[in-house]
Amino acid sequence: MALIALILLPFLGGIFALIAGKAEPTAARIVAVVFLFCGVLALAWTYQHAEAGRWMMMTREPWAPAMGMSIILAIDGLSFIMVALSLALGLLTVVLSWNATDRAPLLHATLCWTVAASNGVFLAFDLVLLAFFWELMLVPSFLLIAIWGHGDREAAAIKFLIYNAIAGLGLLAAVFWIGASGPTVSFDAFEVAERGLPPTAQIWLLLGFALAFMVKLPVPPFHAWLPDAHTQAPTVGSILLAGLLLKTGAYGLFRFPTLLFPQGMEVLAPYGLILGAFGTIYGALVACGQTDAKRLVAYTSVAHMSVVLMGICGGVHFSLMGAGIIMVAHAFSASALFLLIGAVYDRVHTRDLRELGGLQRSAPRFAAAFALFFSATLAMPGTANFLGEALVITGMFQVNWLYASITLVSLVVSVVYGTRLFQRIVFGTPRKAQVTVDLSFRELGPVVVLAIGTLLFGVLPQFLMTGLDPAVNSAVEALRAATP
């Protein structure tokens, strides 16, 4: 039941926030925080009552048995970390939008719903339930962009939803094929994994799953929605997109291909490596040419998530572990950068790198925070990002030195865009727009939390690694068993 509560609490939090906001606009945010915090408590409860073995906890409830569907939720270290991340980012975004005045109750409700749907993705092991949450997740994010976005938000919102929903159709079609393939209609991922699917079918099914996951990740050439969505989204929307939505794609790739289609993964992983290698160089190079700070960070996300794809497709212990750590580290660093750029934008209404500058004199706290998270994006030792990238590269050397070198090159390029962004915003003299007001305490809180996360997991990765271990091990074993 605790697992169901992890999805239901944020969802109800959204509904009650909306109701409370009708009577008293300020009540909405309190309700949202309370419900998200209860979610954190429920998560703590699952940790306390974790069972020994591969899965910390598992729940099976009937849903629509006649249609072959049930509610199957399970949590292991990987899911636990992801759910913790989603609740944390949910709380963070609510706090960050504490003083929002524009339709604030609906904003807070939408944030809660995004968290609820992504928690669903991280916990679902009935494939229909997975597809359900997968598509459900799009709706609140769509609203976030369409209602509170900047500029041409309608077009960006439609583009975001169309890209992802169409990719979701691939997942949906694959899920139905799987459901219909067994002796009885069943969408239970564990049962399907046990039964095994025919190897040739696995390739097609994996393509369907991978389409959905890679568009969400996103890996070039499926990334075109991301820069627009990020640029037009409000700050909290960007944070949830970068910190949470992209991670659902990474989580999906991490979890399901090796669980359901190990043989298919064996065949397709090399192509995934090529896509990832291309993506990481492409994303990094395009990031170098951006003048809009948010677009720049969006493209760095493309580069980093491509590294995650490489780590997953590498299929060895180090690379998978590295991919898992990048997932968390990137959630922190990208969220923080979007937060900071959003804060700059709130003050001077521009994100154009040609107009900004001189932060270090007028706003030292800003400058310090930027410095930390730039170092994180270019994988400076001491940050969790470094650890992840280093592990992926180590793993890549076990797979193929070429890919390892490509990853290294992308790290070099990341220094180029990182220092460019840093130099343009932090150093120099203020050009057109000068930031005179430093980070407020309300902004500083989330920044400090993200900074602590980045540094803590950078020097003490044990908690993350122990958590990821079971998922990494079963992925490696599944691939080993599938190798002819």
């Binding site: 629509a64 249609m67 949450f133 919102a157 929903a165 159709l169």
Partner: protein
């Protein structure tokens, strides 16, 4: 109580006669109340009766009762969004007649009842369409009259061929492998495709949606479709498996999905977009029928039942906004009229097949039926169709949330609000927990 399963039809007929008889004298409210009472009574009877009379002409089996129930619901929705301005007093009686016709169709087991049911729907629909006597309504009415007439003639010809070959008028006649029967089957399919608004027999549909009162669109979009779909389901097992029937359905379905979605893409008017989308949705149903999947019947009935509330809600919103129901007129509706805007959003998301709305499960049934039958070509068409559909539904959805809102003519009337609320509750309720509907559908197979 030993019943025959035909009481709902009797009640509907009686209510139609009463409503017609009193309409010249009685007030608008009285006529409407009598019509509503008749529809509710028929609905209760359809839900409650157990018997399954099977005569040569009509059956009162579970599928017929399911169809009748859905027709009554659409009749109620049509009645509720009928506006006095465009609705002379005869309208409630016409809605009842159309509902009766569609209900007869869903119980038809014989060429005669098939034809009578179809014509009852079409004639009542034509009258309902031209009631406002505006130019667009008259145009829609003429199109329906002429095209419907051609459709009826084609259908009759098909029935005649089958009768000539077999001397049989029940549906069993179609299982003959005679050449003449195959020709008849093609004509029959064409005739039914007119009523089911499948491309290339669809021309009247967008006009009904945009020109006629929204009530007529509900009858055309749900009631008549339910009836025809059940007829198709009953005919399906009789038809030779590899024949003109399956091929024809597949061709009509592909054409409808492609053309319906394409034409809806750039459509600025909400009702007209719904008209084209209704063609596309008919196409999906035809694809399911053509696939020959084991649970075709479940999937078809489920699909229509999930399509109905979304269409009710969307058309109710269109009726409230009247002429402003287009991309410019809908701007900021969510902020100006939260109820109408939110429910319209839900309806559009449901039509687009996104989760938490029941449309997701409709898409689920569609894809799973096509995947189970192994008809991957049709599955690809369905996927591409729903991908295109996302764009035009979302285009309207996004508009509803714009900030540069416009002034809206009027808040919803209580009856319209009731339709909106009931539709929203159905869309979300079944969207979260689709089991009961699936169970109902499984118990209602023909």
């Amino acid at each position: 109580m030993a019943t025959m399963g035909l009481e709902p039809l009797a009640v509907l007929g009686l209510a139609a006669v009463i409503a017609m008889a009193i309409s010249p004298r009685a007030s608008d409210g009285t006529t409407r109340s009598i019509a509503a009472l008749g529809l509710i009574a028929a609905l209760i009877l359809a839900a409650g009766s157990q018997g399954a009379l099977t005569s040569a002409l009509l059956t009162g089996d579970a599928a017929a009762r399911f169809g009748t129930g859905l027709c009554c619901l659409s009749g109620l929705a049509a009645l509720a969004i009928l506006r006095p301005a465009s609705a002379p007093r005869e309208a409630p009686a016409l809605i009842l007649l159309a509902t009766l016709g569609a209900s007869v169709l869903s119980g038809a087991a014989h060429a005669a009842t098939l034809f009578v049911g179809l014509e009852l729907v079409t004639l009542a629909l034509i009258a309902l369409t031209v009631l406002p006597r505006s130019a667009p309504a008259l145009e829609a009415g003429y199109k329906l009259l002429i095209l419907g007439g051609i459709g009826a003639a084609t259908l009759l010809m098909g029935l005649a061929f089958a009768f000539a070959a077999t001397g049989e008028l029940t549906f069993a006649a179609w299982s003959s492998t005679d050449r003449l029967v195959a020709l008849g089957a093609a004509l029959l399919l064409a005739g039914l495709a007119f009523k089911f608004s499948l491309v290339p027999f669809h021309m009247w549909t967008p006009d009904i949606f945009s020109g006629a009162p929204a009530a007529a669109a509900i009858v055309a979009g749900v009631a008549s479709k339910v009836g025809v779909a059940i007829v198709l389901l009953r005919l399906q097992p009789q038809m030779p498996a590899t024949g003109i029937w399956q091929t024809g359905l597949a061709a009509l379905g592909i054409a409808s999905v492609v053309l319906g979605n394409l034409q809806a893409l750039r459509q600025p008017s909400l009702p007209r977009m719904l008209g084209f989308s209704s063609i596309a949705h008919s196409g999906y149903l035809a694809l399911i029928l053509a696939s020959g999947a084991a649970d075709t019947a479940q999937a078809v009935l489920f699909y229509i039942a999930t399509y109905a509330p979304a269409l009710f809600a969307a058309l109710a919103a269109a009726a409230i906004l009247d002429r402003d129901a287009n991309l410019t007129g809908l701007r900021g509706l969510v902020w100006a009229q939260p109820l109408t805007g939110a429910v319209l959003t839900l309806a559009l998301l449901s039509l687009a097949g996104l989760p938490l709305a029941v449309g997701f499960w409709a898409k689920f049934q569609l894809f799973s039926a096509l995947a189970q039958a192994g008809t991957y070509g049709l599955l690809a068409v369905a996927i591409l169709g729903s991908a295109a559909g996302l764009y035009f539904y979302l285009r309207f959805t996004v508009t509803l949330f714009r900030r540069d809102g416009v002034d809206f003519p009027r808040p919803p009337h209580w009856q319209e609000a009731a339709v909106l609320l009931a539709a929203a509750a159905t869309i979300v309720g079944l969207g979260v927990y689709p089991g009961p509907l699936y169970a109902l559908v499984t118990a209602s197979l023909p």
